[in-house]
């Protein structure tokens, strides 16, 4: 069980949160200009590092707000706020 720090509510059990995957993936500025391969990259491909990972969580059963954080994918240690 992860202990996750919500920036607004403090440390809470993982069961209160939902996972949002990689942080900082923005919608393409001009989707029509993308090739099929670039669009596929945006839709289907995310980082999958063994190590620090900037990711999103939402405090579903709390304040219901989204936030970014950095977590190590082997130790599960939270390493600070994401970008």
């Amino acid at each position: 069980m992860l202990l996750i720090r919500c920036p607004w509510c403090g440390d809470r059990d993982e069961v209160e949160f939902s996972y949002g995957g990689q942080a900082g993936v923005s919608y393409p500025d001009d989707p029509e200009a993308l090739t099929d391969a670039q669009w596929a990259e945006y839709v289907f491909v995310r980082d999958n590092p063994r190590g620090p990972y900037a990711e999103r969580w939402v405090h579903t059963n709390g304040c219901r707000r989204w936030f970014d954080t950095v977590r190590h994918t082997v130790t599960h240690e939270f390493l600070g706020e994401g970008s």
Partner: protein, 401 residues
Amino acid sequence: MEQHPDFLWRNPSPKWSYDVVIVGAGGHGLATAYYLAKNHGITNVAVLEKGWLAGGNMARNTAIIRSNYLWDESAGIYEHALQLWEGLSEELDYDILFSQRGVLNLAHTLGDVREGSRRVNANRLNGVDAEWLTPEQVKEFCPIVNVDPGVRYPVLGATLQPRGGIAKHDHVAWAYARGADRLGVDLVQGCEVTGFVRDGDRVIGVETNRGPIRAGAVALASAGHSSVLASLAGIRLPIQSHPLQALVSELLEPVHPCVVMSNHVHVYVSQAHKGELVMGAGIDPFNSYSQRGSVHVIEHQLAAALELFPIFGHAHVLRTWGGIVDVSPDASPIIGQTPLEGLYVNCGWGTGGFKATPASGWVYAHTIATGEPHVLNRPFGLDRFTTGALIDEHGAAAVAH
């Protein structure tokens, strides 16, 4: 059970060069090596394993075998696997304890009933054995399932694949390993791939902790670590790595005659040959390479198991564990060439790779040996994420992603 000999395969040091280097000595890697040698006569092959043979997901799965997937492409490859399973003990001259005790997929909602009925029809059209059972027939087939209509998610019916079942996963790995070794394949344990040797856009070998090894072709079969390895070659895969947990009870008298899976309350259970109840459920939601997950996932699947099987209230959890599964966007595998010549990938089996082991090795060996995909894995290339020809098996995968 017969006594094993002390050693089933050699433990060679790597040579400096091979025709094919396979990265990962799990079930898929070992099966690939075996079929490269057996079907294609390519025996100058090494299987490199950073840990010990079959110590990853091959040692951590719940050993369920079935082929009742929805789409034609999946039915093709999983049914090929099932047919290979049916002859595998004889093929490898090793008892893999394949028990075709039947797999039930329970329906608990009207949506489940419709999806299950559709899948039975789709399976039959593809030559996959499938039946629709009423709750009474479910009870007859598996008497310990609670079909009381008064529970929160009553059993409204089930699909049954009579030819599905379980096998002894360790025996499968050992049988393929021995078979490959006898045909001349080097199984090299404690050999971690740390990089790739390139000649322009061609991969011509690997760097390892035991030195560089040249290869005519390099074939990844590294499941949850596929992204990490591919990134060493500068390739991004549409894969996310997650923990998938499972558990066993203590050894019990035979109480559970088949395999029961439930998408909706979400647990899958069989009873292993030795007697322990083997259970699994969905992945932990977060990305991880830690081979462990959170306890609330275990609690959830036990709650589901107790609602379906009140008799399990007397059982104790003996052990839980996790493996790292390589989840693809459409819950289907990725098997084929990469953008780099000489580098092949076989990953994305996610939560369901064990059942596919023989066919995965069969078609991957074909792809490596001929440079062209086998007809069964042609639809499963990396290019489908660009063309949009996905093979969406989230329903038939029977595991929440």
